[in-house]
Every structure is written in C-alpha cells, then in structure tokens.
C-alpha cells in the first residue's frame, strides 16, 4: 500500500529531519568539519517543493542546502558521504556540506550568499533557448534577498521572461541580523513588482501551503510567464551554524519557536485531526529515523580521500571523463 499525498509529505519532512539529525550526530563524532548549517524547522519548505520538481528542473541552493538536495532527488547516501567528506561522496570529499554538485539531478549549491540566483539564471536561459520545459529554481534566505546578485538575476530573468523560480526561505534571521531591521519592506515577495514578476507569500511551516504555492510558481514559470518569487516564512530552530553561541537571541525565544512552529508537529496534528492513524504516523517516523541511522553507520565506514590525490581535479586533464 503506497503512501497518500499527505503521508508522502509527512514522510518527506521526517526524512529531512532525520537527515539533518544524522548530520548532527556525525558532527558530534567529528566526521564533519567547518561550519555545518542544518535546516531543522524548515522541513516543510523542502518537502513542499519536492512534488513540483521534475528531474530535468534545476535547483541551485545555499549554505543551508540539504533539504533542497533531497527534494531534488540527490542520492542521500552520496550526499551524506560528501557531508562527511568521504572519497565515496557526491564530490569525492572535495566539496563538503556547503558545496554539493550533482550534474545528474541538476543540483548545485554555493556557500556565498546571493550567489545562487545568477547560477539559476544560467540554467533558466539554457532551458528557454533549447525550448525545454524545465524550470530553474534559485534558493536564497531572507538575508540573500538584499544582495546585488538577487537584483541582477531578477532583472535579467524578468526582462527575458525566463523560467526561473526564486525560493526565499525567510526565517527572519541572517545569522543574528533580523530581517525586520534591515529590510525596507515587510516581505520579499512584494518586491516582485519591481521586476514585473509574480510574488507569492506562503507560510513555510505549512507543508500543504508550500506545496500549493510552489506548484503554482513552477507552473507559471514553466508556462513561459516569467519568474516568480516564492517567499516562505519559517523559523530556524538551531544556531546559524553548529557552535553558534546565539548571543543575539534568548534561549526561551528559541524554545518558543520550536514549541509553536514545528512543521512536523503541526502537520501531524492536521493529519490526526483528519483521521490519520497515529500508529501509522509513528511507523513512518521510525522508518525514516532507522533508515538514516543505518545510512550514517554505513557512511562512517567509508574511506577518507587519499592525501596523495589532493591536487587532482583542478583541471580537466586531471579528471578522467
């Protein structure tokens, strides 16, 4: 018996949460170095976008990219192995968690804020000029919406009516800086008018709402009607990166967000109110958790890259086709 749409959404969110919890576990075991940015609290956005994405679409993400990669269908074993810097990882351990590149699924990311959208623009132009019906999704946070790259990519995509969707995950914080303190507008979506583009604002803790809005946006872009900004408001449950002392917000505030806005808890309540069997939901949660646990164990057995190969892959001649 296959999952219903609702169960799939629920499962996707749980799979995403389990994935990032595996990352936290790996970090504790010192299998991940550098700053790790997890998406806990933002699962409804990743899960909501997954449905409307087709294999030929492209997603260009940010430093907080795990859920978008999973939504795009990047192999989660290869992704986790890359995050754990293994030779068997998506990028042979060279990229790490901020820089996963998967040509097979048209997924990539960047650790530079605002740099994702121009890359999405390139995909969008390629799709349009080749007459393909694929859409390019550029992801950014609220913080990234203030960058010049955001503006330049929107100008070009809108003037050419390219199939581009800009997904703004507005968690109201850029590290410590509050959106409300640095944004001249209440929302990012309303800035779409400056580009003659469509703007959608959605509650990013509601997976059904995200799925609807994102599907609308993708259809609009796919139909040649030009770019769309989808702003999904959400909350960041953990520090900006693991190890962030978070001196800029009280602990109680963080707890309040978790208590009030957990997209999984909220969705579970909706499903149960609609008559879902709690045991079935528990089973899904347990399955996803167990699967990720097993996967992490497997990944941690994988080899580290060989130091003798440290200089390889700089140029084509160093990388066999």
């Amino acid at each position: 018996m296959s999952d219903t749409v609702q169960q799939t959404r629920f499962r996707r969110m749980l799979a995403m949460r389990a994935f990032d919890e595996a990352c936290l576990d790996a970090l504790r075991r010192k299998a991940i170095h550098g700053e790790l940015h997890v998406g806990l609290g933002q699962e409804a956005i990743g899960a909501g976008m997954a449905e409307a994405l087709r294999p030929e679409d492209a997603v260009v993400s940010t430093h907080r990219n795990h859920f978008h990669a999973l939504a795009k269908g990047v192999d989660r074993r290869a992704l986790l192995a890359e995050i754990c810097e293994r030779e068997g990882g998506l990028c042979r351990g060279r990229g790490g968690h901020m820089h996963p590149f998967d040509p097979d699924t048209n997924f990539s990311a960047t650790g530079i804020v605002g740099a994702s959208l121009p890359v999405a623009l390139g995909y969008a132009h390629a799709f349009a000029m080749r007459g393909e019906s694929a859409v390019a999704v550029g992801v950014t946070g609220d913080g990234g919406s203030h960058t010049g790259g955001f503006h330049e990519a929107m100008v070009m995509a809108a003037a050419r009516k390219l199939p581009m969707v800009v997904l703004v995950e507005n968690n109201a914080l850029a590290i410590s800086v509050q959106f409300s303190e640095v944004s001249p507008t209440d929302t990012v979506a309303e800035r779409a008018a400056a580009y003659g583009a469509r703007g959608l604002h959605v509650d990013g803790t509601d997976v059904d709402a995200v799925a609807d809005s994102f599907a609308t946006a993708m259809a609009h872009a796919r139909d040649g009607c030009g770019p769309v900004i989808v702003e999904a408001t959400c909350h960041r449950f953990r520090g900006h990166f693991e190890g962030d002392p978070e001196g800029y917000r009280p602990r109680a505030e963080r707890q309040r967000l978790r208590d009030s806005f957990d997209p999984i808890t909220l969705y579970r309540a909706r499903l149960e109110a609609g008559g879902a069997d709690p045991a079935a939901l528990d089973a899904i949660a347990a399955e996803e958790k167990a699967a990720m646990k097993a996967l992490l164990a497997e990944v941690l057995e994988m080899d580290m890259p060989d130091p003798a190969e440290a200089l390889r892959y700089r140029f084509t001649e160093e990388a066999p086709a």
Binding site: G89, C91, F101, L121, A136, V155
Partner: protein, 349 residues
Amino acid sequence: MSAPDRINDRINDRINDRLAMPLPATIAEAIALEMERDPAIVCVGEDIGRAGGVFGTTRGLQERFGRDRVLDAPIAEMGFTGMGVGLAQAGMRPLIEIMFVDFVGVCLEQMYNAAAKIPYMSGGRQRMPIVFKTAGGCIGSAAQHSQCLWGLFAHLPGFKVVAPCNPHDHKGLMAAALRSDDPVVFIEHKALLLQKGRDFRHHPDVPAEAYTLPIGQAAVVREGSDVTLATLSATVEHALAAAEELAGEGVSVEVIDLRSVVPLDTATVAESAARTGRLLVVDEDYLSFGLSAELTLRVIEALGHGALRQTARLAVPDVPIPAALSLERAVVPNAALIAERLRAMAKGA
C-alpha cells in the same frame, strides 16, 4: 599571365585582404567558426549583440546566431557571470564578456569562487567550459580602465589565463579557449584591438579556416644571445621594437612571448636564460606579487642559484595608472623604457 601566376595573385590578394582585417574581426571570425562547430556556445555580455562589441570583437555574431546565442546583457556582471556558471552546468559552453578587465571587482565572486573552483569542489564531476573574455591594457584611460590584472587571476587557482599578442595567436587561442573544458580568462589588449593585421610586427597573417593553438606554450618571437626578454600581450610589440634598437647597438636580445600566464611556460624561458645568462621580465600588469616575480623565481628555481648573471623586471611600479599621458608614459613599460633597461643590463656584469 600564366594560370599559376593568376592563382598566386589571387592568393596574394586574399592575404592582403586579410592583412587589412582589424584584429577584432579576426577574433569575431574565431568565435563564429567555433559557434558553427558547436551549438553549445552562447555569448553573453554588454554591447556584444547589436553593436557587435565596443571594439567589434563580436561583430556579426548576433545577426548570424540569433539573440539567444549572442545576448546583449544589462550592466549586471555578477548576474551574467553567474549565468555563465549556470549555463555551463546546464551543458552549454558560455563565452562571458566582461567589457574591461577593470570591472572584475563586481563579479570576481562568480569567477573565482564558482567557475574556477567547481571542477575541483565537485571532485571532477562538474566541468566548467567557460571563456571569460575581456579587454585590458593602457590606452590613456586612467586608473579604472587601464589595468591588465592577469597576475590577479593567476594567483587564484582554477583558471587558465591567456593574453595573446598577434592576430594569429588571438584566433588560435580563442578557438582553444572555446574548446577547453576548463575556465579560461582571455585577456585582449585594447591597443591591439585598435590595430589591423598589417600593423603587427609579428605573425600578422591569419588563415581563414579554424585552427587551435595549445594553451601554455610560449613562443620565441626573436632569437638572440645576450639577454632573454620575456613578456606578453601588447608589450611583445614594444619588446620587439626595443630589441631592434638594441641590435643596432650590438646587443642581441631574445624575445619570448609567453602567450599565457597559466599555464606558464617556464621551460622555454629557462632554456633561453640559461643560454643568455640574463633575464628581463617585462609586464604591463603591476610589478609586485604578480607575473614578474613568479616567472623570474621559477627560472631561478629551475636553473639553480647563481646560474644567471642578472635578472630584472620592468612593470607598472605599483601605482594606479595616472590619467595624464606624461605620467602614464613614465609608469607603463614602452619601447623606450624597455630599451633603457636592456641597455643597463647589457652594460652590467
């Protein structure tokens, strides 16, 4: 007139016609031939379409290949440089024109953190066949429109950095850049872009058909025995002029055109310097932390300490390019400054 004579005449006419070609037309020809070969090539930049480029290096391409493949961009370099990265990831082979290299400060991000690093960061899984085409060099345009900056790109790993000096090399190296699967920064020189084939002292002739030259091989453009002079781009012409002048004074100068900064053909320079015992590197880019020290030191490392009698470098002495010509002439290596330096070396031990 015999038939062979007539044929020869026709060939000569053709060669003469081609010698009248402005360098930009040669570059446009190289790009057009590659675009014909490979439908994945897409050109993006300011004024490259309807205007055919501010120097004419893309003239005729938009009429021929359409507005999707030759795209007039707004002034949004961060946007369209990143677009190049996305195009490459989508299987295209973008040529991105940054009108003047001086503007790189608004879009270096996409060039060095994305294009140049993604092949490595992806463990060889994602190729980056991008040509960043741009114009550098001094033609009296002051501090923000006169730089070369190849030393800057060369310091950042992942780029190949090409700066040709004559029509023949421009055509062959542009074709090679467009066929390369690695990001190539292709730096033209504004002064050369204002010339026709016949204005060039060296290799003004350009075959009509497509050809490539290997990226990373220097060329000995004049043989000599007393001093080795290594340089590139527009300075090769100045170096040849200075070498001619010195020949009249009994000093024999070997002139090497490096053609690319990355890869840097140290072997050719070292082989020559080992013979002459004297190495002068001339660079229109800034003196410090750039090409001149890297090349000189690589040669010393290759030959051993004490193998050379003299080394010297002549480059822009770490100063923004001044507006006044009287000042520009004092800081940008030209034939007179090169000759003076060669003379000093020839007199030295």
